[in-house]
Symmetry: C2
C-alpha cells in the first residue's frame, strides 16, 4: 500500500465450497478479491468530483486474451450497477458464468482471441476496488459512509489509471450497458484521444427523474433496515439483508419488461393448484422476485448499493458541457455504435436517440440500432442475436480501420 | 353488534386538531370512523371466497345527494387501493378534499344534485369497514393476520349488503378507477340485474405479473420492518412505518408517468444549488417521494396494505368464468363506458381493450375512450377535462334512458 509503484497482487485462491459467501463479499472480496489487483500509493490519490482526494486507490480487475505488441487491441468493459470485474469467467461468489459471458469470449462478438479485454470493478463497488466496504486507511475500519460519494466520471478516471498501469495509451473499444454505457460516454467525453471506438448500450446521457425515483426507493429500503446501523453494519457484525433484498426486488422489476414478466410467469401459481389466501408467494413471479432479492444479498454490499445508485443519479453529461450534450463530443474522432431495445422502459430508445442526435450535431461518427426485443432493459446481458451481429460488425469494421488482424494468431 | 337489524351509527365528532393521526387511523377510524356505519349482526356473516364466514361485518360509508322516490338515482363509487369512503368531502384524517372531489359534487360530472352517491370503505380497509385493524370479535383484539384474505368479489358482496341495507334494488351506476374499476367489473359480472350502467376507469380484468410484482415488493417492505411484528404491531404498540413508507414510495412511482415525473421534477435539485455528494434528498423527486411515504403512513394501516394489494393480485375475472372474459358479461344489459389513459403503464390501454373486446363478444353495450394524457395511472383522480366530458355525457345518456330528470329538483 505504501509502495509508490503500483503492484499487481495475485488472485487469492478460490475456495469453491465456501459457505460464508455473504461474509466473503462483505470482507473477503473487498479486501482480497479473486482477481488481479492494482494498488496506487498514497502519493497517487484520485481526485474525486466531490472535491476530495481518495488515497490508496485499489482496483480489482480481470483480463482475457493477450495484448498485442502494438498495444492496439485493448477493449475495456464497463459493468452495470451491480456487475463486477468477472465479465467472462465463472464468478467466484455465485459460481455462475460472468455477466457478459454471452458476448465476450473466444469466437464471441468481443473475441478474446483477437482482443485484450479488460474488466474492472467500479470505484464504489464491493468486489475489490475501493468502495465503502474497503478498509479506510485513516481508521483501519471499513469506510462505510466515510467513503466519499463518487460519480461516473470518478469511476472512469480510476479506470484510466488502470489503463495507464497496463501501459495502454489508446483503447480500441470501450463497451458497456446501462451504468456501463454511462461510463462509455464519459470515457469518450473525458478521453476522446484514448478511445478509438465506443459501444454504449441501453443507456442514457443522464439519469431520468423516474430512474432517480426508483433508486431512491432502493436506498430508503436499505436505510430503513435497522441492521443498516447508519452504514456501520460491518463493524457491528450485522447485515441489512432484508432492506437490500427489497431494494433489489424493486429494481429487478425495472430491468424486465411487462411482456417478459407476462411471458415468463403470467399469473401462474407456484407449486400449488389454488391460491392459499395468504401472503406466501402464491404466484411464480413473487417466488422469482423473492429469490432475486435473497440471491443478491449474498453477493452485494448494501453501502455499495447506495454509492453506485447515487453515481448514476448524478450522471448528467450535458451539464458538464454547458448544458449542450453535443459539446461533450465536439471534435471527437471516436466511432460510436449506440444500441437500445424496444421494451427497455428504464432507458427507453428516446434516451439513445438523444445521444445519437448529440453525436450527429458534434460531427462524430455514429451508427445506431434499436433492437426489437421483449426482454426489457436486461436485454443487453441476454441472448440477443441481433446485438451479437451488430457488435461483431461494428468491431470488425473498427478493427479493419485500425489494422488489427482477424484473430490474434492470424 | 348483536342486533340482527343493521343500524347506522352517527358520524363520530371530528377533532380537526388531532395530532395523533396515525393512532387515529390505526384505532380510531377503524373502530369509530367519521362516517355512517352499518353493522351486520353475527347471524348475517359474509361468506368469503377464502371459504370462511366473516361475522359482525361493519361497513363505513358516506352518501352525497338524495335518493329519489323511485330509488333509481343511486351511484356507487368504488375506491382504489388506498382510497376510502371520503370521496367528496374533506377527509377527516388528512384534512384534504376527498379523492374524487374533481368528479363528484354539485354541478360536477357525477352531480350530487341529481344522483344519490354512495361511497364505502372496502372490506379489508382501515377507515371503518371490517379489516385487519378492526377488532376481532372472537378475541377482542385487532384481527391482524387472523383476518381472512379477501377478494375483489368479497368487497363487492359486502357493498351489495350495504346497498340492500339502503333499500336500493338497482344501482343507476357503479363507477371507479384502478382497484375501483375492478370492483365495477365484478359488480357487473356478479349482479348484472342490479347495475344499469358501469364506468370502469384505468383498470383491467386481471392483475398483471408486473403489477403483482410491484405489490409483492410493497408487502415485503412492510413485512421486512421489524416493527411489523408478524402483523401484531397494534397490540405491541409499534408501527411498521418505515416499511410502509418504502412500499408507498415504490407504488407511487407506478402511479405517475415517466413524462409527468420529468415535467414536474426533471433533475432539479431541492433547495440547493449544487448536489451535496451525499444521501440526502438532493433531487426534488426524492424529496417528493419521501414526503409521499411519510404522509401515507399517517393515514393508512400496514396490514390493510397487505390485504388490499392481495385482493388486487387475486383478481382475474375470466378465471371465474371458464377462462373466457366474455362469459362474465354474457346477456348483460348493463351499459358500459371503459376509459384508459395513454400514459398509464400500470393499467395500459391494452388492458381496457381486452375488457372492451370481451364486452363486444358478449353483446353488451359498450363505449370506450383512450384519453391522451401524460399524467399516468393517477389521471383518473386528476383534472382531466376529457374524462369529465366523457363521464358527463355517458351519465346524461344513461339518465335519459332510465328517465331521470336533469337534476333532482328539475
Amino acid at each position: 500500500m505504501n509502495s509508490t509503484v503500483p503492484q499487481d497482487a495475485s488472485p487469492a485462491p478460490l475456495d469453491a465450497e465456501s459457505e460464508a459467501r455473504a461474509d466473503a463479499v462483505a470482507r473477503g472480496e473487498a479486501d482480497e478479491p479473486h482477481s488481479l489487483v492494482v494498488r496506487f500509493g498514497a502519493d497517487r490519490p484520485l481526485k474525486l468530483d466531490a472535491g476530495v482526494l481518495l488515497p490508496d486507490l485499489k482496483i480489482a480487475y480481470q483480463t482475457y486474451g493477450e495484448l498485442n505488441a502494438a498495444r492496439s487491441n485493448a477493449v475495456l468493459l464497463c459493468h452495470a450497477l451491480t456487475g463486477d470485474q468477472h465479465a467472462a469467467n465463472i464468478n467466484p461468489i455465485t459460481g455462475k458464468p460472468g455477466w457478459w459471458d454471452t458476448l465476450v469470449g473466444p469466437g464471441k462478438p468481443i473475441d478474446t482471441r483477437r482482443f485484450f479485454v479488460i474488466s474492472s470493478n467500479v470505484l464504489g463497488g464491493c468486489m475489490g476496488t475501493t468502495g465503502p466496504s474497503s478498509v479506510n486507511p485513516a481508521t483501519g475500519a471499513p469506510y462505510g459512509l466515510a467513503m466519499p460519494v463518487v460519480t461516473i466520471r470518478d469511476m472512469v478516471n480510476a479506470q484510466a489509471m488502470l489503463v495507464d498501469h497496463l501501459g495502454i495509451e489508446k483503447l480500441f473499444c470501450v463497451a458497456g450497458g446501462s451504468m456501463g454505457g454511462m461510463q462509455v460516454l464519459q470515457w469518450a467525453a473525458s478521453y476522446p484521444e484514448r478511445v478509438f471506438s465506443a459501444l454504449p448500450l441501453a443507456t442514457g446521457a443522464r439519469h431520468s427523474a423516474q430512474n432517480i425515483a426508483f433508486h431512491e426507493v432502493g436506498r430508503q429500503a436499505v436505510m430503513a433496515d435497522p441492521d443498516w446501523r447508519g452504514g456501520r453494519y460491518l463493524e457491528e457484525g450485522v447485515m441489512p439483508s432484508r432492506g437490500l433484498a427489497v431494494a433489489r426486488m424493486a429494481a429487478h422489476i425495472t430491468y424486465m419488461s411487462d411482456q417478459a414478466l407476462h411471458r415468463k410467469f403470467g399469473r401462474r401459481l407456484q407449486n400449488r393448484a389454488m391460491p392459499t389466501f395468504g401472503f406466501d408467494a402464491d404466484f411464480q413471479v413473487e417466488s422469482y422476485l423473492r429469490h432475486q432479492g435473497e440471491a443478491f444479498v449474498q453477493r452485494f454490499d448494501a453501502n455499495s448499493y447506495l454509492y453506485v445508485t447515487r453515481a448514476m443519479d448524478y450522471f448528467d453529461l450535458a451539464a458538464d458541457y454547458g448544458g449542450v450534450l453535443a459539446n461533450a463530443f465536439r471534435g471527437s474522432k471516436t466511432r460510436f455504435c449506440v444500441v437500445s431495445f424496444t421494451s427497455d422502459w428504464l432507458f427507453p430508445t428516446d434516451e439513445s436517440r438523444a445521444i445519437v442526435h448529440a453525436l450527429n450535431a458534434s460531427g462524430a461518427s455514429v451508427s445506431f440500432a434499436e433492437i426489437e426485443s421483449d426482454k426489457g432493459h436486461d436485454a443487453f446481458l441476454l441472448e440477443e442475436p441481433e446485438l451479437f451481429a451488430i457488435t461483431q460488425g461494428f468491431l470488425d469494421a473498427a478493427a479493419r480501420a485500425v489494422g488489427l488482424p482477424p484473430t490474434k494468431d492470424a
